[in-house]
């Protein structure tokens, strides 16, 4: 039921929303999160960010967690699009959409899915500075704490 894609191309939020809700009149609300590339990391300006992933694992893992979220919050639909490759500041990185009969479920599922993507989906970000050097982003402990809130389902 979930739409899951990992792609280099950008995505259009309205088009994804339209696809999620097409022909449906039982949806009361859609929660949404769009992640974007910031121009600085720890105060240092970045020129770009490159995302790598583990293709054989990524989509199945996201699909599984989206299925769990759908059950847990009675979702009527769910979309996850995650970009990979080189992205410049301001670019969209990730989209989560969760549709439900009521807003509480839609927003809780959106929150859960983005927390899970940040802590359990096999993506790695490398930041590139103006001088051409780069560093792999280190995982943030606050992200693990955010995912741990959800209990077993996030593991």
């Amino acid at each position: 039921m979930a739409t899951v894609r990992v792609q280099e191309a950008d995505f259009d939020v309205s088009a994804e929303l339209a696809a999620l809700t097409a022909g449906r009149t039982d949806i009361g609300g859609i929660g949404c999160f769009v992640g974007t590339v910031r121009d600085a990391a720890a105060g240092r300006p970045i020129a770009a960010m490159t995302l790598e992933h583990y293709p054989a694992m990524t989509e199945p893992a996201i699909r599984r967690i989206a299925g769990e979220a759908a059950q847990r919050w009675s979702l009527l639909g769910c979309t996850v699009v995650h970009r990979v490759g080189r992205l410049e500041p301001g670019a969209q990185i990730v989209l989560v959409l969760a549709a439900a009969a009521h807003r509480g479920e839609a927003l809780a599922a959106t929150n859960f899915l983005i927390d899970w993507l940040k802590t359990r989906a096999p993506f790695w970000k490398r930041e590139e500075f103006a001088d051409g050097t780069g560093v792999w982003v280190e995982a943030r402990e606050t992200d693990d704490a955010a995912a741990a809130r959800w209990g077993g389902a996030a593991a």
């Binding site: 054989a56 199945p60 990730v94 940040k118 802590t119 359990r120 790695w124 970000k125 992200d143």
Partner: protein, 90 residues
């Protein structure tokens, strides 16, 4: 153990890939390697790139057959084992 001939596939991502110098390699399950932890010990002494990749074991995560796996996870011929840093997507 009908399948001892099938090689292990080992994948490296992010800075582990950079340090090891390859994204993927395949070899027969070495004698004495029964778990992920055994494989890490085996790889860490293969050369300076491997040694650097596995120097800080607490920073290394593993998946076996596309599922996150602990150091104690058993390995079998034909498995796909991936090593990578803690994830930073989203």
């Amino acid at each position: 153990m009908a399948d001892t001939g099938r090689p292990l596939t080992v994948l490296y991502f992010a800075w582990l890939r950079e340090r090891v110098g390859t994204a993927e390699e395949a070899f027969s399950l070495p004698p004495g390697v029964a778990t992920v932890a055994d494989l890490v010990e085996h790889l860490a002494v293969r050369g300076p790139g491997y040694a650097a990749a596995f120097a800080n074991r607490r920073s290394v995560r593993c998946a076996v057959n596309q599922e996150f796996a602990p150091a104690s996870a058993a390995l079998h011929p034909g498995d796909e084992v991936a090593f990578f840093p803690p994830v930073t997507g989203g």
